[in-house]
Amino acid sequence: MSESTSLPSAGEATPSGAMMRALGIAATVCGLIIVTAYESTLDAVARNKKIATERAVFKVIPGATTVREFVATTGGIQPAGPTVAEGGVKFYGAYDAAGVLKGIAAEGAAKGYADEVRVLYAYDPVKQAITGFSVASMHETPGIGDKVLSNQDFLKNFVALDVHLTADMKAVANAIKVVKHGTKQNPWEIDAISGSTVTSKAVGKGIRESTEKLLPKLLPYVSKLKEGK
């Protein structure tokens, strides 16, 4: 790189043509190696992601045996393809062995104490409520932030968290709110865990933002999902 760090070896300086050629060959060979690695692992990676998603969805929607990916847009619901259309929101439909729709699952994310907290939540379109959630990834403080996974009182918030839409199905009627521990009064509020409010708020915010984006697009067309196999 700089002259002061090169070896004091004897010999003339290399002509720039030779340098460009060497760099060019190195870059090409390396490029080939990278592309080979990428292509050969593509299937395995996709399979891993699918297995991970299924496992997560089965956890929040017990009784489901198959998961299908969809995209909700303002014009309707389509099966998910390799890319998500502009303004489309991805979600999962979980079906049991008989092909009946057991529930909807979707992802939400928000910044917690340290980096992002990603959750997967289950939504019941009949009750119009969240029925459960699990954490997909987080880097919160062990022993403090990870209480959201185990604290029973906190988890009870998500048995029937109300997210019903307004009559015109354009927005969520009452935004999910995370309130101080012990002050929950409405079915759309979440009682934070005292001592880990930041992580509790992150979970609430992730779910709130995701539902506000997804539900107005999803609910009007949800009957189409029930016919799935």
């Binding site: 790189m1 760090t5 090169s6 070896l7 070896s9 300086a13 290399t14 030779a18 340098m19 060497a22 760099l23 190195a26 870059a27 390396c30 490029g31 190696i33 990278i34 690695a37 990428y38 692992t41 395995a44 990676v45 891993n48 992601k49 991970a52 990834s137 403080t141 062990p142 022993g143 403090i144």
Partner: protein
């Protein structure tokens, strides 16, 4: 950096990287992943092995091409080669285990900025034959893995009460959480270095047979 003696045998090269010139404790190289990743024994070993692979593959390739790369662009070329193998490892880990990939996070890609890899390529692989380079690199990589495990093992043991995910102290253990957080990384490594310094000081003292009149020379 390389002592000007008879070229050491392959086995000696391998061992040298493992302990005498241990990358973390002796040469203090490759600190970024050391501190960040050593929050558990499994993470430490996985990161160590990933780095070992990148080290060995890059040094082998650099050594293969050492007569072909012009000296003015050698650092840039080494970096490109290292970046290539890091990308390979990145996809390999994704294919093996997504949860491991999430745990190691961006630090896999940061292996390319690990001074250890570039330093080894520049100091050793550029002057030695491919097999010798690869062996030395592997030794150093395993030394790196060993040190990562020493730090990560202590942090997990004290900070979570488990090792390799297996809880050792039972449910009533009060974990010393700070050990898993950033300060813990600094503290544990500092403590290890202190332990080594103490051991070395004691070995040096024993190596000097004290004459009887040395009672007055205390430390």
């Amino acid at each position: 950096m390389v002592p000007g003696m008879n070229p050491p045998s392959s086995w000696a090269e391998f061992l040298e990287g493992l302990w005498q010139r241990n990358p973390i404790f002796v040469m203090v190289l490759g600190m970024c992943p050391t501190m960040a990743i050593t929050t558990s024994a499994i993470n430490s070993i996985s990161m160590g092995l990933a780095t070992t692979f990148v080290l060995a593959a890059s040094c082998w390739m650099v050594s293969l091409l050492r007569h072909v790369i012009p000296k003015e662009v050698r650092i840039a070329t080494y970096i490109v080669i290292i970046a290539t193998f890091v990308t390979v490892v990145d996809y390999a880990i994704q294919a093996i285990s997504l949860s491991l990939y999430e745990a190691l996070g961006a630090y896999i890609k940061l292996i390319v900025a690990n001074c250890l890899v570039l330093g080894r390529a520049e100091a050793h692989a550029a002057r030695n034959r491919p097999v010798a380079s690869a062996l030395n690199a592997t030794g150093m990589g395993l030394g790196f893995t060993l040190s990562l495990f020493m730090i990560g093992g202590v942090r997990e043991l004290v900070g979570m009460g488990s090792l390799f995910g297996i809880s050792l102290f039972g449910p009533h253990y009060q974990p010393w959480v700070v050990m898993i957080l950033p300060p813990g990384g600094f503290f544990v490594m500092g403590l290890w270095l202190m332990v080594f310094a103490l051991v070395r000081a004691r070995k040096d003292k024993k190596a000097q047979p004290a004459p009887p009149s040395a009672q007055t020379q205390g430390i």
